[in-house]
Amino acid sequence: MHIFEGFLPSPWWQLWFVFSIPVLFFGMHRLNKLVSEKRELLPLLAVAGAFIFVLSSLKMPSVTGSSSHPTGTGMAAILFGPAIAAVLSTIVLLYQSIFLAHGGLTTLGANVASMGIIGPVFAYVIYKAGMKANINFYVVVFLATAFADWATYVVTATQLALAFPAEVGGVAASLKAFLLVFATTQVPLAIMEGALTALIFKYVIQVKSDALVELNVITESVLNKIKGASQ
């Protein structure tokens, strides 16, 4: 869920930049290290970013009738880890604000915080924990992406509530209002994106499973187990 340009008033948009920029620098540091070790990764990351952008511009079939788009950041976190996902989503968010008029420049810090940092971290933690607990791979992917979207949505609602606290009840009351109103679009969207990502992984494993092993997304033994189960 993008916060549009000009929506966050003065102390808040700067504060979210203060939160996002150090994380982003850490991500860039990781990226630089990775790229200097394995040069062939740079074009791969670039096409992965383009893939996320195109994925996020596709309309998803929606239950409530409003147009909804996948964010793709949960998938990026599963594939590349949260630090690099943060850098890729920042570029994607910048392009979205300039090409598609989604989001904005002053609100970029807040959007990066919710969609590029906190969402992917949730996806990654749930994915790693789920794989360790030996739950079915597709269920884990579904949960990781869906919870990443929900985390993003809760953070965005919090950002709006902090900037616009209600007169009666303060931040908590307006948080409740923002959560309720955006739940109609965000709750089904997260379930849809989770299902979509799980399906994508299903097809990728069928057609090009070596890519996932190379990215350390799944180990050989897990792959054999999934393939054995699907045959």
Binding site: V35, I91, A101, F164
Partner: protein
């Protein structure tokens, strides 16, 4: 399917103006709009930027209105919440719902109007940049910043591949649609997953191919492009300064303004 604003920027006559001047105009509009205490300066900025985009940038007015409505759903929903929950003052109207009392008062309405105008001005500034400056031009600006090389390299390569993949995605989507791939909810989910998978595999293979082809051409981690020099003309500078001065004066005059 989607409007890539970059296509319009490439044919805009303002494309050949100085990039830094355009960025200065946009950043000025965004910052003044966001820090304004009254809804008048943001509306004035929105009006000026829209005029500049449509008149100087030769964007079709109908198309401009269409893209301006893109953030409408998000903004309207949020603005309504702000109007109901924010501010104090005399109540303008209200109603009871499930024993809750909801009402709009003057403070809330003023805040909602202010936020709406700020978003409008911010969006019109962004559209001005998006519809008059192609990304290719912005790369030279990005290079002047002190961001790490790998970040800029990835952004530039990503930009080029966005269009390649969009074309692939459109082609597949069209083929799927004519074969009733989006006839109902279940089928569309499956079709969309197949489409995304093909894209993922394509991009993976493409990534391997570019590395080989770029290494063969002595790629050492830096793409270098030709940059044209575009000096700022006197009349542009005068117009921009007048605009800045007018908006700043308006901002100063309305800083303690209230409509109620």
């Amino acid at each position: 399917m989607i409007n890539i604003l970059d296509d319009y920027a490439l044919v805009s006559p303002l494309r050949y103006r100085n990039n830094w001047l355009k960025i200065a105009i946009v950043m000025f509009g965004i910052l003044v709009g966001v820090s304004s205490q009254s809804f008048i300066p943001p509306f004035a900025i929105a009006l000026c930027m829209s005029f500049a985009t449509v008149h100087f940038g030769k964007t079709s007015f109908k198309f401009y209105l269409k893209i301006l409505s893109a953030p409408a759903v998000f903004v309207l929903l949020s603005v309504v919440i702000i109007a109901f929950f924010f501010g104090s003052g005399t109540e303008l109207f209200g109603f009871d719902i499930f024993s809750y009392h909801l009402g709009v008062n003057t403070g809330g309405l003023e805040m909602a109007l202010l936020v709406f105008s700020r978003t409008l001005s911010g969006m019109s500034c962004l559209f001005f940049l998006a519809l008059t400056t192609p990304m290719v031009e912005l790369f030279s600006v990005l290079k002047a910043t002190k961001l790490p090389d790998s970040f800029i390299e990835i952004s530039m390569m990503m930009y080029r591949y966005i269009f390649v993949f969009l074309e692939v995605a459109w082609g597949i989507k069209y083929a799927q649609t004519v074969r009733l791939g989006y006839k109902d909810w279940r089928t569309s989910l499956n079709s969309l997953a197949m489409l995304s998978t093909t894209l993922f595999i394509r991009s993976w293979e493409q990534g391997e191919k570019i590395f080989i082809s770029m290494s063969a051409r002595c790629y050492d981690g830096k793409l270098i492009f030709f940059e044209e020099k575009r000096p700022i003309r006197a009349n542009e500078l005068v117009l921009t300064c007048t605009y800045f001065a007018a908006v700043l004066a308006l901002w100063y005059l309305t800083r303690i303004h209230s409509i109620f």
